[in-house]
């Protein structure tokens, strides 16, 4: 027999007139996440996920608790609108939890809510009535209203009641797609996948772009980026990666530009190409894994000079994070182990021993005169290629 998951979503219920659209987006994302394993429907202020026969609701619940917009997921029981029915479900629920978790003398409490005002028992009364039934039915149980081991929730709605006691926290945020697409500069390092995850958390559907430095780097560096995209499909059902061949541009920079400015110019070229791709595809924001002050190209002066090539907003969701925080998050997302594979990415080849930490705009612009910037950008946009990743599908081959 299947099970029932009761999903609470927070923030999006606050957004008055867009609420409908956000809810539809969330339901759509949840449906893609559960696939054939469950039925998803919206009831007032909640989403119900009912797993089909033979599918473990706990497993589906874990998947569902990764979906952005979800605040919490509870494995719930349905009860008829009848006090005795609710009591019976509550008793069975507590028994089941004690068995599963091996609790011997647990404490519990009941938290009831009655949105159906025609139900004859009010919330406080329900707490007492359901709690009393549980206490008398199960031995070795005591009440603790402040820090209970088991918190039995009862929610009485128009047509039925729900009873649950186990809740996962979801990531919160907005459902992916609610905020339109953003172009993510994805290097293969630790930071950029986390930045992508943070952007998705705010409802942005990411479109990663990778600057491929082969043959300055190994094809395994490209494999790394592919693997990262596949991991990120856990949060966004489909991800379309753009690979930009970048070695020729690097060679040009290396040949024609002064050593101390090469990193700055390289990053400006990346931003120009990303902006051109965004413009082509009607995307209105870029997302990077930059943080302030980690490396030479991330001083404020450097960010200013690099940023000067584009009018698009650049979202830098990691700006407030320390490295340790980024690493911890990458580990939770599941990208860390891929990111630390020992293959150079495009940012580490050709890095001079002494890059300028405060590159001024004037000298950089003069140095770029040695390059045919617009032709290089046009060429890169023309030569880039697309690789698509879908959750649960075979990842594409190199």
């Amino acid at each position: 027999m299947g099970g029932l998951l009761l999903i609470r979503y927070g923030e999006i219920s606050l957004k008055g007139k867009n609420r409908r659209e956000f809810e539809n987006r969330l339901v759509g994302n949840l449906r893609r996440m559960v696939g054939e394993r469950a039925r998803v429907q919206r009831i007032h202020g909640r989403v119900l996920v009912e797993t089909v026969d033979g599918i473990d609701p706990y497993q589906v619940g874990e998947d569902v608790s990764r979906v952005f917009g979800v605040v919490s997921v509870a494995v719930a029981e349905r009860a008829r609108l009848d006090l005795q029915a609710i009591q019976t479900k509550a008793v069975a629920l507590v028994k089941g939890i004690m068995e599963r978790r091996g609790l011997v003398h647990p404490t519990f409490k009941v938290t009831a809510r009655r949105s159906n005002k025609s139900f004859p028992h009010r919330s406080l009364e329900l707490n007492r009535l359901v709690g009393g039934a549980v206490l008398s039915a199960i031995d070795h149980l005591s009440v603790d209203v402040h820090h209970p081991d088991i918190n039995v929730h009862v929610e009485v709605r128009e047509r039925e009641a729900f009873v649950w006691a186990e809740v996962w926290r979801g990531p919160g945020g907005l459902p992916v797609g609610a905020s339109g697409p953003g172009l993510l500069l994805l290097s293969g390092g630790i930071d950029s996948p986390v930045a992508g995850w943070m952007a998705m958390k705010r409802g942005i559907a990411i479109r990663p772009v990778h600057f491929d430095s082969f043959p300055f780097t190994s094809e395994r560096a490209r494999q790394k980026v592919y693997d990262l995209c596949q991991v990120l499909t856990a949060f966004q059902h489909r991800i379309s990666l753009t690979v930009v061949p970048f070695a020729a541009i690097q060679t040009d920079i290396q040949t024609h530009c002064p050593e101390g400015l090469r990193v700055t110019i390289m990053r400006r070229m990346m931003l120009r190409i990303a902006s051109a791709l965004a413009e082509r595809d009607g995307i209105c924001a870029l997302v990077t894994g930059e943080s302030v002050g980690q490396v030479a190209s991330q001083t404020l002066e450097s960010i200013y000079t690099i940023n000067a090539v584009t009018n698009l907003p650049i979202l830098r969701p990691l700006v407030g994070f320390d490295k340790e925080e980024i690493i911890a998050r990458a580990q939770r997302i599941g990208t860390y182990d891929i990111s630390v594979r020992p293959y150079e990415d495009c940012c580490t080849v050709f890095v001079p021993q002494h890059p300028k930490t405060k590159p001024h705009l004037g000298p950089v612009e003069r140095a770029e005169k040695a390059l045919d910037v617009s032709a290089l950008v046009r060429g890169a946009v023309a030569e880039c290629w697309q690789v698509d990743f879908t959750r649960g599908a075979e990842p594409p081959a190199l």
Binding site: F214, P215, F216, T217, S218, E219, T251, Q254, T255, E259, P342, E344, V349, F350, P352, Q353
Partner: protein, 386 residues
Amino acid sequence: MLEIYLDNSATTQADPLVVAAMVAALQRDYGNPSSLHRRGAVAERLVTEGRAAVAEALGVAPDEIYFTGSGTEANNLAIKGTAAARKGRGRHIITTAIEHPAVLNACRAVQDQGYQVTYLNVDEQGVLRVADLEAALRPDTILVSVMHVNNEVGSVQPIRQIGALLQSLPLGQRPYLHVDAVQSFGRLELDPQRWGIDMVAISAHKLHGPKGIGALWVRSGVQLVPLIDGGEQERGLRSGTENVPGIVGFGVAARQAHRERAAVQKRMTAWREKFIARIRSAIPSVRLNGPEHGAAPHIINLAFPGLPGEQLVHFLESKGVYVSTGSACSSRQPDSHVLRALGVPREAGAIRLSLSRLTTEAEMDQAADVLVAVVRELQRLYKGRG
């Protein structure tokens, strides 16, 4: 696109004859050699034939060949098996600093069990001095393990002299001589019987045979303790159902290599010299790692000061030429213990080109042109760096 594979010391492409024989062994003659029925008998005959072919290529008796899962396992069996079998006689082992990790790490493992291991240094050409070995010998030395051809630089060790030295010791004090011949079997002359060797480790996939099959030749009378306990296959020294298709493939590959060995060795020697001369005249700063003369003809290790070896590999790859940095087994590690032992400076990016009997002269000429072009391109890019 052009494709020239010069990484044959990492592994080789399987010979079509090898593949055909293996497919038949997997599909038609799929029996277990230990089974009593006809299927078993057919499989057993295949194993016998494979063993005979490998033995013939090595110039030894078939019943002294023990198949293993890899060259690495064969080396482990030789070292750990000797250590366990002879611990009553002594606990000292001598090897060199430039062995393959299969030998070095097996030695370190027995070291952890209380054995003493001497790691002999080599000269700047990568060759062991026999006098150094002689000086290191002790009455309690139970094993000398020296590779025949170094996998990174191609230096050839004086195995024949080492064998003669050990044979001159009184029988009761004579250590076993184990030779890691993974890089030389089927490519260089090797005569374990006459050279006074006791054990030889070999592998199939370096010779256009399959991966997953190796062998240890063990002179009869040599005592070893097995690494693996089980159904007593391979006369108790290596339990586990025989890898029949692997053995069949190994046999075919060994026969082919053996048949052509002398001719292949001769032409490779000439091509190697020509190749090195061409690179030298175009890129004077190149450094040859390993011996100038007398090196294994199928391995060329070159260093280009100031250029990262890894990028050389990828630039060559982008032009269809496949080589490696150092050795494929350890190229993920930033440093080469072999090049350090030879005194090669760390900054010089080294690449290894390795040939096989399928390599042609035209491929070597083309590869030389591509290498020169790539080195010049990278030298231009790295000029004035730092």
